[in-house]
């Protein structure tokens, strides 16, 4: 299957063109944020304070990179497990976030938020972090530098290889994909 090329910020049309199993090459800006950064983003929202980056149309990559060696924009940068951010994702989608990138399945609440806010969840392949680092053209810390690997970074990516695993139609590849190959029920 030929991969679809998409660029952030994502439009309604782009998100609605995606279905589970589609392979995507994503370009443009994505923001890294994981456990601690999410906690802080939600605290800012609760206090009515501005966020450190524009959320509308954007994509959050659940990732905490390894340090950049000399001459490279970033170190290895693969996805972390997404369920830990399930408690935060619906809130961010309701404020305009259009995509999250991570690994592993999402909760019912996140699946509903994807449908209600025309958004998408991409799987990035875990443990291929050197390969993914090569698709990052630049990286800069935009918030919470003191969190080290957990700081929010603005990445400019080119052809980041992703798989649509939860789409805006309520379909879940973690369920459908497994069903297609399951020969033993537990």
């Amino acid at each position: 299957m030929a991969a679809k090329r998409l660029t952030t910020p994502l439009t309604d049309e782009a998100v609605l063109s995606l279905h589970i199993g589609d392979e995507v090459l994503l370009s443009g800006v994505v923001y890294t944020a994981r456990d601690s950064a999410h906690k802080r983003l939600i605290e800012l929202i609760d206090r009515g304070e501005p966020l450190p980056f524009e959320l509308v149309g954007q994509a959050i990559y659940y990732a905490g990179p390894s340090p950049a060696p000399p001459g490279k924009p970033i170190g290895s940068v693969g996805p972390t497990t997404s369920y830990r951010m399930d408690a935060f994702a619906p809130r961010l989608h309701s404020l305009g976030l259009r995509a999250t990138i991570g690994k592993g399945p999402r909760s019912k609440e996140v699946m509903d938020a994807l449908v209600n806010h025309k958004s998408v969840y991409f799987t990035a392949v875990g443990g291929v972090a050197a390969l993914l680092a090569k698709r990052v053209k630049s990286a800069e810390i935009v918030a919470f530098e003191e969190l080290g690997p957990e700081a929010i970074r603005k990445l400019v990516v080119e052809d980041l290889p992703l798989i649509v695993s939860c789409d805006a139609y309520g379909q879940d590849l973690h369920v459908e994909g497994v069903k297609a190959y399951q020969k033993l029920t537990v």
Partner: protein, 281 residues
């Protein structure tokens, strides 16, 4: 008494930290190639192709295979007639980790406390398991362990009446429920018997000291390993939990004697980046 120089241990551990995180061992590479050949799902094949490419990129670019360069877990076998000079072996290992993770541009993934969570900044303290044996040698095994797969690990205290069937059902349910979280295709380390903590240590040891394809020397447990692996790969979980016929690359079981009332089992789940380094000093 043989004295091993503190600085030699530091240097060895520094190099091991970098080596383990950049280069996979041949048995794991071969298992991943074989997985790619036999995977039937298109998505699964795309994933495994990237996994194989990543091994080459990591080597060529000198980048860690995974950004999660892990907690540094050590198994140390120390001869009764060996000693490490200066502040001793544990301090030397931690200093080696500190230097390796800095010099190798590896991620510092350790927080000082599970609730207060301040990053220690140098990936220490390492977790070090010691065995004291006759001899004058010092053998060090390092297995950097990522958080995603470690979180998909568990200990279960069965009543003996559950039998192997009860254990097997639990493992299958556990692997199915873990889905894509631990970055499958996984390697499943299982400790059976012993007690609460020995089962867990044996589950981890199984992942560190056996090469893929190396069966338990006891034919009973060797058979159970094969049986479990076959059944796990019928669950359909597949690469990254998105469906397929390769869910796990290997199952290792280590057994130990246990109490008449107990039948403990620990499952330690390992992601496909099964990283190790070994040295003898």
């Amino acid at each position: 008494m043989r004295e091993i120089h503190f600085d030699d241990v530091v240097a060895a551990v520094r190099d091991m930290s970098i080596e383990a995180n950049l280069f996979l061992k041949d048995d794991v590479k071969e298992a991943l190639k074989h997985a790619y050949e036999r995977e039937e799902s298109g998505t699964g094949r795309s994933i495994l192709k990237m996994v194989l490419e990543n091994i080459e990129v990591a080597e060529a670019e000198r980048l860690p295979l995974c950004q999660d360069t892990g907690l540094a877990v050590f198994f140390v076998e120390m001869g009764e007639e060996a000693k490490v000079s200066g502040d001793g072996v544990a301090k030397a290992i931690n200093e080696g980790v500190r230097r390796g993770y800095k010099d190798g541009y590896l991620r510092k993934s350790v927080v000082d406390d599970p609730v207060r969570r301040k990053n220690t900044g140098d990936n220490t303290p390492a977790i070090i398991h010691f065995d004291v044996v006759p001899g004058t040698h010092l053998k060090i095994a390092l297995a950097p362990k990522g958080g995603g797969s470690e979180n998909m690990s568990t200990v279960k205290m069965f009543p003996p009446s559950a039998g192997w069937e009860g254990m097997k059902k639990f493992v299958l349910e556990w692997v199915f429920k873990s889905g894509g979280n631990p970055c499958p295709p996984s390697i499943i380390g299982i400790g059976v018997g012993g007690n609460f903590e020995l089962a867990a240590i044996n589950a981890k040891k199984a992942l560190v000291f056996r090469k893929i394809g190396q069966r338990n020397p006891d034919p009973f447990w060797a058979g159970k390993e094969v049986e479990l692996l076959d059944d796990i790969n019928k669950l359909g979980v597949g690469p990254m939990g998105l469906g397929g016929v390769v869910t796990s690359l290997e199952v290792f079981i280590e057994s130990a004697p246990c109490h008449i009332a107990s039948m403990p089992m620990a499952i330690n789940t390992q992601c496909h980046a099964n990283r190790h380094a070994f040295r003898e000093l």
